[in-house]
Amino acid sequence: MEQRKSPVRGSAAGQLSFPNSDSRSAPHNPQRPARFHLSGPPYLLSSFSGFSPAPVQPASLLPCFFSSLEGISPKTISNIGGLHQMLSLHQHIFAAVPRDSIIALPEHDSTNKYGASFQTPGGRLLIKPAEYVELVSSMKPDFWVTLADEVPAWVSDKRNRTSVDRTLRWLDDCLSLNKTGTTIFGSIVGGSSIEERHRCAQEVAQRNVSGYWIGGFGLGESMDERAALLTAVTDNLPEDMPRHVSGLGLPEEVLQGVAAGIDLFDSTYVYHLTLGGFALTFPLERNKGDNADYQLSDSGGDDMKINLKATIYRKDTSPIVESCNCFTCQNHTKAYLNHLFNVHEMLAQTLLEIHNTHQYLGFFCSIRKAIEEGKFEQFRRNFVESRRECLFAAASSD
């Protein structure tokens, strides 16, 4: 079972390149350059069943978590030929990250000097750097993130310092165990301490890595404290190396991350929305002055999402979003989706996930466009303000 995530490129520079590794058995395409050049954002596409009926974009990031691959041994993955082969997604970029915000949450109490502990549906798992590197090498991702000791915001200073020391040590372990010369992102932690964040970032910046993964967020810190912590990290990192953060999912959080210089995001936002029957309705072309739909708030919606389970959609023969090009909006109506959710049919999740992923990716597209036009701050302000307006209007209409 893969995790659904949606990373994206938000920073100003244009390209993220990955070597086209020979170990992949995708058919050789003479047209394709030796390196993947992604001038768009990489993004993530994944579905519960491991395949999606919608046409798939050429470049996607898929975090693959060792714990999600219980039931299939590293050796078998290797025999199949790695992740690209196993999932039959040859055009995609894969990232291997140990943490999965749904099925492999870092269990900081059980993590010890030997390895990182995760709470999974199959129980608690302790993974050591050597085991991790072995698993990653069987998966053959395009890049992978070193093992980290992530702690939530409320741990003691001592525990926090230990997490930084451990993460650095494991980073060095992973680097030395890395025989195949694959692309590695160094992990940076530091909890809610500005000093520790500085320290860790500075240390990792000195290592020979190809990018940075920033962990320890989305584990209990508030959005207000996070801004300073993010910049404490990114201020110490070279400009021209990609930065990837896990655990920031809400659109406002993504905007916050982009402002701090983050390039790649993965989150469970789309997953949770879909589970709840919520469909994203981002007004991707922002029209200030549109009347807020008060009816939406009664059903739990707002100007960004609607609750497809609500009875107001029983007879609604329009697509979720009129102008949306996704498979779901091109083929189905809110009424049909409402019915599918009410009778608990699997197809509801599949169709909604396609739409929500498409919308969320569109959001990242808008961010990129705003950056390229030099209007990011304005974009961010407008977005946050119109959200506040809608919530205020909904509250005052009660």
Partner: protein, 403 residues
């Protein structure tokens, strides 16, 4: 009458035909997947088209509960609601009588169910069933019949058969859209050839667009099963489609086609997929089995479907042991298998190589030659020589005239 049925090829009793329905031009023999609540579990309409599905079944009982036939009608019918461009068939809701019998009360008026959703009583009369199906708008609709399990004996079976005939007249009278929807009658009568004969004659007198053979696929022994099918196909008109309800296993479909049936429906391929079982020419493959965990072959190396072209048994094993969503891949493959079987039956009859196809099918499924006796007997009656597939020939067939 809103269909055309043109036989394109034969081999003894077996026939391959073109069935033209309001929404789609179909080729028989064909299998119809069951999309009870307006969807085939987890598969999109594009995938269903890719697989080659021609007709999909919707269940009147479930759809009437949610989202209600009135809503479907208001939104333009089930085709539009689901966005399914091909053909649809709705059953009458009658099968639930058998499956929920301890909650049902059957009288001359109709059937009272207790709704499994909210416990409210629901009365399904022949008129109501047809009205609901008129609102849903499927290409083929089924008469409400009085279904009894074939494992029951006694006067109940005779009562049910006669009632089915009285109800067909009520269904015909209530049917408001005969130029757009085809009402099929259902032959009942249990395992009693005399009752079945009466029922067939009665239905044929009404000159319906098509006929179904009902009351089977409910646990009766295979020997009785094929004999009833053989009797009915022999007695039903040549120029109208024959639908064996609730069938089923690939082997059963091959036998029934040899005996002259054209259409089938069953939840088996999709239900078994949700339990991690794949259909393969040799029989079944259980993906949850530990042995699959390291098997990097596709489900069926000869299968051309999207699943077999892209995924390994090991990967599917890892998915199906987790949750039902992982079984979407198996549903896809299993339905592909059934539709391919349908296509192969049609083309082998049209191209004059039906016996060869049957033999190859049986040899693959029974490599040791242990073809079940009932299959041998049925093929004898169908006039198909399968001696090359069987280790020993059987000669104890009851060739009574009703067959």
């Amino acid at each position: 009458m809103a269909l055309k049925f043109e036989v394109l090829g034969r081999f003894n009793r077996a026939r391959a035909a073109q069935l033209t329905l309001p929404h789609y031009l179909c080729q028989t023999p064909l299998f119809m997947p069951v999309g009870t609540q307006g969807t085939i579990k987890g598969l999109t309409k594009n995938q269903l088209e890719e697989i080659g599905c021609q007709i999909i079944l919707g269940n009147t009982y479930h759809l009437a509960l949610r989202p209600t036939s009135e809503l479907i009608d208001e939104l333009g019918g089930l085709h539009k609601f689901m966005n399914w461009p091909r053909a649809l068939l709705t059953d009458s809701g009658g099968f639930q009588m058998v499956s929920l019998l301890h909650l049902a009360d059957i009288t001359e008026k109709g059937v009272t169910f207790q709704s499994p959703v909210d416990g409210k009583p629901m009365l399904l009369t022949p008129e109501e069933s047809i009205q609901i199906q008129n609102r849903i708008g499927a290409d083929i609709i089924m008469a409400l019949d009085d279904v009894v399990r074939t494992t029951i004996t006694g006067p109940r079976i005779e009562e049910a058969m006669y009632r089915t005939l009285r109800w067909i007249d009520r269904c015909i009278a209530a049917h408001k859209r005969p130029n757009e929807q085809n009402l099929f009658g259902i032959v009942q009568g249990g395992l009693d050839p005399v009752l079945r004969d009466i029922c067939v004659r009665g239905l044929v007198e009404r000159n319906l667009p098509g006929y179904a053979i009902g009351g089977l696929a409910g646990g009766e022994d295979k020997d009785s099963f094929w004999r009833v099918v053989a009797q009915c196909t022999a007695a039903l008109p040549e120029d109208k489609p024959r639908y064996v309800m609730g069938v089923g296993y690939p082997l059963d479909i091959v036998v029934c086609s040899a005996l002259g049936a054209d259409m089938y429906d069953c939840v088996y391929p999709t239900r078994t997929a949700r339990f991690g079982t794949a259909l393969v020419p040799e029989g079944v493959l259980k993906l949850k089995h530990q042995a699959m965990a390291n098997d990097i072959r596709p489900i069926d190396p000869m299968c051309e479907c999207m699943v077999c072209k892209n995924y390994t048994r090991a990967y599917i094993h890892c998915l199906v042991t987790k949750d039902a969503m992982g079984s979407q891949l198996l549903s896809y493959h299993n339905l592909y298998y059934m539709m391919k079987l349908s296509r192969d039956l049609h083309s082998s009859i049209v191209e004059g190589r039906f016996p060869e196809f049957v033999c190859k099918f049986l040899q693959t499924m029974f490599p040791k030659g242990d073809v079940p006796e009932w299959v041998c007997n049925a093929m004898e009656v169908a006039g198909i020589d399968i001696s090359s597939c069987c280790r020993e020939m059987r000669f104890d067939v009851d060739k009574s005239s009703t067959l």
